[in-house]
């Protein structure tokens, strides 16, 4: 015994499993085959195997199957611990090993046996290895188990049914009566699980769910967990219906605020404050419940309350003001997480005058809280800066001191994001922010952040009053950092050289030093930039240094691949590559307003949407020779009312000389099959329909796509028009149950709404990071100027929004944000016209008594493009 203790001391309490090796453990697994079985040894070996599996160790199918079969021999042991480990082993191996179905009968025997310790785990294991085809054979046992009088067995069966419902919903649906019976159980867990299953079975039937909620909200459930679930279901229903506080569901939620269990009270309060359309009056009881929790002796309750209040304070700061006194008391809470949330909540609800005091309070314990909560603080500061721009100096100092502290990547990233955000929103904070970031990259271990900051410095630095002071910081990176950062630093340096003529000679010297770098990428960049800078041509600088590549990366890859497949004499033309789609302004604002995590996903989808369309279109052989896809319209246009017989949505794809209309159709009649579906289009504006590509068959509820190819008029300035559309098809009646169709059909048609082609369809948004340089690059050759009076616009913001929408171009230099209280504004727009011609617009707007006056100057590499854009507003 003494010896063992000493050994453990030597290991310093290390994990005894940390040095396990897969092959030797699996080798040990052969000992399962021995007779008689030694339960102690086998338990130990099984634990090792489970440990390895949970560590993510990959075990091959053959090895796994061998171990699994050895494990099945352990069914002869009656040792409870060993058998329960075997059940765990079966569950873990269910997806790796083959023929796991072999233990089905053994498990059914155990789940119906006398030993209660075996029954629950056996049910869980059985449901893991059973697929839809086998489920029939165990259905009877599952039904019995759901209503079993042993609670653990019943709960196991209910939760397993929930898992099964994912793959075989139809079978599980038949167990509804048993679930119903289990809801009446007097065990709180069984009741909760049964309600969960019941809801899952009925969740697609809204009426049934409504009934479920109203039934159980009336005769009271015993389990607080079930209550919480019921609250969530009711909440979801309320949201779907958009019902207000007069709904019985809402009454139920409110009644839960007076429940005896704290869990239920909190859940109800949480649900009410999180609903989309709540008025202050509805919110009041929920907030006052949370306020009570704030002074609870239980830290969990205080935490839950303050966390929820923190969230509410974003949407309804006024409602939370009532709790300010309680929140103030919580600043000194011994639990730092609670204190942090209290302060950040106060920051959001408080007035400008209290900011300084609160910030001081936070900094006193910043070092004691975890990264996760530091991020909460950073986010609070960000929203504060938006609210009180004048306080930026306090915030910036605070952020920079946070940057200097220890912290993980997520935390530093949040700070850097916030500083960048503040710089973009607030011009006054720019210099201070850049200085802090410069200091940060001097000692930054995260390559991603360093490259990002260097890119920002390259973009913003040259345009500050004293660009030379950033050079030292950037060049230090070239000397000290890894290859990725060096490459970014070289690019940033080149931007300074391109923009500031007085710095050019020094930059050239610095870049020359990088020509001998050990890394290919750094060397290539330095050489490339040097050669361009030595030309001393503004146009070249603008095109190759200041403005980066603007094509979509996926599109470029596909185009190059295509080019290598079909080599031709003509060199590869970059203009044939589809352009990268700029995220539109609405998306960006949504990203700021909403949660931080959510919009990332949507942005990604939006960026690749056009690539998906391009891929789809390239698969249609009839559209092979229309050239590369230039642009796809943003959101599909609905051409039918919702809930009509057929749903048709249109997406416009612009090609160099054609427009393809893509119609996504859905047939909502289950007794009809449509065949040979086309959309006939007619226009008076010189557009000509070249070809219809029908959707061969449109069965019930399955989306189908047909295309119409339209050629553009010869006159390059005639680009807009209206089409009347008719859906034409052959109807065949069919039996909704069997899906059998009649032989004979008849022709029919259905009138759709008109489709318009507008100027924006011919223009792709392109961000020009340095508008001034691009303006000079395009030159005054095709310059057009015009003045309009926009009498219907009452404010500059409105005018800016409409101009952007009409032209379909990208606002540059953040000129889409009109500073408050100004009567004139200049809007810079960048874009590429169909055929790959750059178009730039400078639009000077002035607020007059009768609306807005606009002087618009258009420059383009193509004369007709300039003409089209200049006329877009008129």
């Amino acid at each position: 015994m003494m010896k063992r203790d000493k050994k453990e001391d030597d290991n310093g309490g290390l994990n005894p499993f940390s040095y396990l090796e897969k092959t030797s453990v699996l080798q040990e697994g052969r000992r399962f085959n021995e007779t008689p079985i030694n339960p102690r040894t086998c338990c130990h070996i099984l634990t090792k195997i489970l440990y390895l599996l949970n560590q993510g160790e990959h075990i091959g199918t053959t090895e796994a199957t061998e171990t699994f079969f050895a494990m099945t021999k352990l069914f002869q042991s009656k040792d409870v611990t060993l058998r329960r480990l075997v059940y765990l082993g079966i569950k873990e191996m269910a997806n790796i090993a083959e023929d796991v179905i072999i233990v089905t009968s053994s498990l059914t025997k155990d789940m119906t046996g006398k030993e209660d310790q075996f029954r629950g785990p056996a049910i869980r294991a059985l449901c893991r290895i059973t697929d839809t085809t086998m489920l029939q054979s165990i259905e009877r046992y599952m039904k019995q188990a759901i209503v079993d009088k042993v609670h653990a067995v019943s709960s196991a069966a209910l939760t397993s049914s929930l898992h099964l419902a994912r793959q075989s919903p139809d079978v599980v649906k038949r167990w509804v009566n048993e679930a119903q019976e289990a809801v009446n159980s007097d065990n709180i867990m069984v009741q909760y699980h049964a309600l969960g299953l019941l809801f899952h079975i009925r969740k697609n039937d809204k009426l049934a769910v409504t009934k479920l909620v109203s039934k159980f909200s009336r005769h009271s459930l015993k389990s607080p967990y079930a209550y919480c679930l019921l609250i969530r279901i009711a909440c979801k229903l309320l949201e779907e219906e958009g019902a207000g506080s007069d709904s019985p569901m809402f009454e139920f939620l409110e009644s839960c605020l007076r429940h005896k269990s704290e869990m239920v009270i909190y859940e109800a309060a949480h649900a009410i404050v999180n609903m989309k359309h709540t008025t202050a009056k509805e919110l009041a009881p929920a907030v006052s419940v949370l306020q009570l929790f704030c002074s609870s002796p239980k830290p969990t309750l205080r935490f839950a309350a303050v966390r929820t209040l923190n969230k509410v304070s974003m949407k309804h700061p006024a409602a939370v003001t009532a709790c300010n006194l309680d929140l103030e008391n919580m600043i000194t809470d011994v639990n730092r997480s609670i204190a942090t949330l209290a302060i950040t909540t106060l920051l959001k609800t408080g007035s400008e005058s209290s900011v300084d005091r609160l910030m001081k309070q936070i900094s006193s314990f910043m070092s004691e809280i975890s990264d996760e909560f530091k991020i909460v603080v950073v986010q609070a500061i960000r929203s504060l800066c938006l609210k009180f721009p004048r306080k930026h100096s306090v915030m910036m100092n605070f952020l920079s001191s946070m940057l200097r502290d220890e912290g993980g990547f997520e935390y530093k990233k949040a700070i850097v994001d916030t500083i960048i955000g503040i710089i973009e929103e607030n011009q006054e904070a720019k210099e201070a922010g850049l200085a802090h970031l410069c200091e940060f990259i001097e000692d930054c271990e995260h390559t991603v952040l360093a490259t990002r900051i260097l890119h920002l410095l390259g973009r913003e630095g040259p345009r500050t009053p004293q660009p030379n002071k950033y050079i030292r910081f950037i060049y230090n990176r070239v000397i000290l950092e890894n290859a990725a950062v060096r490459a970014a630093a070289v690019s940033a340096l080149a931007k300074f050289g391109a923009h500031c003529e007085d710095l050019l000679p020094s930059i050239v010297v610095l870049l020359q030093r990088s020509e001998l770098d050990t890394d290919d990428e750094v060397r290539d960049r330095a050489t490339f930039y040097l050669n361009i800078l030595r030309q001393k041509q503004k146009a070249l600088n603008s095109a190759y240094i200041l403005n980066g590549l603007q094509v979509s990366i996926v599109g470029l890859e596909r185009a190059l691949h295509q080019y290598t497949l079909e080599p031709s004499e003509t060199p590869f033309d970059l203009k044939t590559v589809p352009l990268a789609v700029q995220p539109t302004q609405e998306m960006k604002t949504a990203a700021v307003a909403g949660e931080i995590a959510a919009p990332k996903a949507t942005e990604k989808i939006a960026a690749s949407r056009q690539d998906i369309y391009a891929e789809q279109l390239s698969r249609v052989p009839e559209l092979a020779n229309v050239g590369p896809l230039f642009k796809s319209s943003n959101l599909p246009i609905e051409l039918t009312e919702s809930e009509t017989e057929y749903n048709v949505r249109c997406v416009k794809h612009t090609f160099p000389h054609h427009i393809v209309f893509q119609y996504d159709c859905i047939n909502t009649l289950n007794d009809q099959v449509l065949e040979n579906v086309t959309v006939q289009m007619e226009s008076a504006d010189g557009f000509e329909v070249v070809r219809y590509i029908p959707a061969p068959k449109l069965p019930y509820d399955q989306p189908g796509t047909c295309y119409t190819l339209v050629s553009l008029p010869d006159d390059p300035t005639a680009v807009t028009g209206t089409f009347s559309c008719t859906l034409k098809f052959l109807v065949k009646d069919c039996d909704p149950n069997t899906g059998e169709t009649d032989e004979e059909g008849y022709e029919d048609e259905y009138v759709l709404e008109d489709v318009e082609i507008v100027v924006a369809d011919h223009v792709q948004r392109v961000m020009k990071p340095n508008f001034g340089a691009s303006w000079e690059e395009v030159g005054a050759e095709n310059e057009l100027e015009d003045t309009y009076a926009l009498s219907s616009m009452k404010t500059l913001e409105e005018a800016v929004k409409n101009v952007i929408q009409f032209m379909g171009m990208q606002p540059c230099e953040r000129s889409d944000k009109v500073p408050e209280g100004k009567s004139s504004h200049t809007l810079y727009l960048g874009g590429v016209y169909r055929g790959g011609h750059d178009v730039l617009v400078r639009s000077k707007l002035a607020l007059t008594e009768n609306g807005v006056t606009m002087q618009i100057t258009v420059r383009s590499t193509d004369s007709s493009a300039a003409e089209v854009i200049a006329r877009a507003v008129g």
Binding site: T35, P36, T72, Q76, I102, V103, S105, K109
Partner: protein, 189 residues
């Protein structure tokens, strides 16, 4: 531990044997095993086995752990996973199912040729089950169709049985127990 070793050495404690029960589906394997258990543990509903189950029963001198394998076509290839460390094989035949006797013979041949069975002297007990049915074949005829005479290197025995009443089971099992005990003893030495 010490006591049980001593007890088994004195022959007080029963020896344990692992056996495997195979045969085509619906031949009565699970029913036979069910019949061999004590009266109070017997079940009334016998359903087709999926995969396998483990059953335990005793004779006068031996304690058997039986792996009751599923006879359905799709699981037969899984039998071999349990050959390696069994001390005896029980092969159950449905003596009314003349048509599928050929299938049973194929399965038996496969079994005998398995690398874990081929070179071992392992006793095989055949039950020609369902002898109570009117068109049942006799055990002699079954053995002729299965070509049992050709098995020379293993002790084997066939007896007609009725799993529902238990008729014939004891006879077969007492032979089997003796053979298995002999095999286990020879292994120990």
């Amino acid at each position: 531990m010490g006591f049980s070793k001593l007890a088994s050495w004195l022959g007080l404690k029963k020896k344990e044997a692992q056996i495997i029960v195979v045969g085509l589906d619906n031949s009565g394997k699970t029913t036979i095993l069910n019949r061999l258990k004590p009266d109070n543990e017997q079940r009334h509903d016998i359903v087709p086995t999926i995969g396998f189950t483990v059953e335990q029963f005793q004779t006068k001198s031996l304690k058997f752990t039986a792996f009751d394998m599923s006879g359905q076509g799709r699981y037969r290839n899984l039998w071999e996973a349990y050959y390696q460390d069994c001390n005896g094989i029980v092969f159950v035949i449905d003596s009314c199912d003349r048509l599928r006797l050929a299938v049973a013979k194929d399965e038996l041949d496969l079994l005998l040729e398995n690398e874990h069975i081929r070179n071992r002297r392992i006793p095989i007990l055949f039950f020609a089950n369902k002898m109570d049915k009117r068109d049942a074949m006799s055990s002699v005829k079954c053995s002729a169709v299965l070509g049992l005479e050709e098995i020379r290197d293993k002790p084997w025995h066939i007896c007609a049985s009725n799993a529902l009443t238990g008729e014939g089971l004891d006879e077969g099992l007492s032979w089997f127990a003796d053979q298995v005990k002999e095999v286990i003893n020879s292994k120990r030495k």
